[in-house]
Amino acid sequence: MNDQRLEIIIGNLLRAGVLLAAVIVFAGGVLYMAHDHAHHVDYHAFMPGGDSTRTLPGIVNSAFQLNSEGLMQLGLVLLIATPVARVAFAVVGFALERDRMYTVVSLIVLAILAYSLLHAT
């Protein structure tokens, strides 16, 4: 296993993740249009939404009830997870190459991402 081969595998996995995310967002979008296409929208004033778009349990719950906003948001969360997965794969890849220095480096990046995502949501 060398860097390049590993990277290509990871790259293909990421593309699959992005496609899946896009499909879920699109499905949510179709549902949203079907229900609310005639609604008047105005985003002049900032009003943060509820738990169903801002916390992971809320988003998952809303998506499984086939709520359009929850579904779109679930796709976006999946998208946000793709770079995190990429770093996690790199940790494994460097460990397999017995490259201790870069296993630690990628673990640090993973820890920062985990802190950000878990702490924030």
Binding site: I8, I10, G17, A22, F26, A38, Y43, I80
Partner: protein
């Protein structure tokens, strides 16, 4: 405006931004945010939230293609991501404590830089150098496919590059953009990494950097699915199309046109920010 009209307009604008962003290498975010805020009156927080997720989509979606070219250097990327993710976290936290006017003005300044970059022609310094002590210790050097076989390169000034990358991350977290331009400057100019290696490595760093501030954005409600849905789908579609035609396009003329558009957007962002309209 009805939800249908809004979605359609944002989808079209985002597709165009993604297309031009891919062709010029400046990314889609720099056009999407001003377009949403200036033309459609969307609060800048929704705009940067939507832009940030679209940045992740283009970075992750193109990763496989870039790797196959054999230019990106995962060690350099991973090491510098420590700096960009910390910077992004800082930027996202700062974003909550400054006014939207201030964000608009900083955004305008970044656009000015992007416009300047579009006008100035590319120089390839042909920077084949030996790594300095730290670069060697960190095993950052590598090789890339050149006209006559694999070309080795070294890496220098790691601390300077690291510092610049923290700044790039902070801008990304504050403005919801990929800030690929600053990343390339850090690698190409400061660390003397060949231009092709810098740009492709920057592309994969962009997604990881954006993910670091995405959690903060999400929990604050900056990512509204009704706005982010058309932006993400549009930018992704446009960018995929852009990379397809990249080989055949006359990029130089395009960069000039794009530069003029970005310059105009920069002025409007700054003026509106100062007048307190954004």
């Amino acid at each position: 405006m009805t939800a249908f009209d809004f979605t359609l307009v944002v989808l079209a604008v985002s597709a165009l931004a993604g297309f031009l962003g891919a062709l010029t290498g400046l990314g889609g975010g720099v056009v999407v945010v001003p377009a949403l805020t200036l033309a459609l009156g969307v609060d800048i927080r929704y705009a940067i939230g939507a832009s940030l997720v679209s940045v992740i989509a283009t970075s992750s979606g193109a990763a496989a293609a870039y790797v196959k070219e054999g230019y990106s250097n995962i060690r350099i990327g991973m090491l510098l991501e420590i700096a960009t993710t910390l910077g992004a976290l800082a930027g996202a936290i700062i974003a909550a404590h400054v006014t939207t006017h201030a964000i608009a003005i900083v955004f305008g300044l970044v656009l000015l830089q992007a416009a300047y970059q579009s006008f100035s022609s590319k120089h390839d310094a042909g920077s084949i150098v030996k790594s300095d002590t730290l670069g060697r210790k960190l095993r950052l050097g590598g090789n890339y496919p050149a006209e006559n076989g694999l070309q080795d390169y070294g890496v220098r000034n790691v601390p300077t590059g690291f510092g610049l990358m923290f700044g790039a991350g902070a801008l990304s977290g504050l403005l919801g953009i990929g800030s690929g331009a600053v990343k390339v400057i850090a690698m190409d100019r400061a660390m003397r990494i060949p231009f092709k290696v810098s740009t492709t490595t920057s592309n994969f760093m962009i997604g990881v950097t954006a993910a670091a501030s995405a959690g903060v954005y999400l929990s604050r409600g900056y990512v509204d699915p009704r706005v982010a849905m058309p932006v993400m789908l549009g930018v992704l579609g446009g960018a995929l199309l852009g990379t397809r035609v990249l080989a055949r396009a006359r990029v130089r003329t395009l960069r000039l046109v794009f530069g003029v558009v970005v310059l105009a957007l920069a002025m409007e962002m700054i003026v509106n920010g100062i007048l307190g309209k954004v």
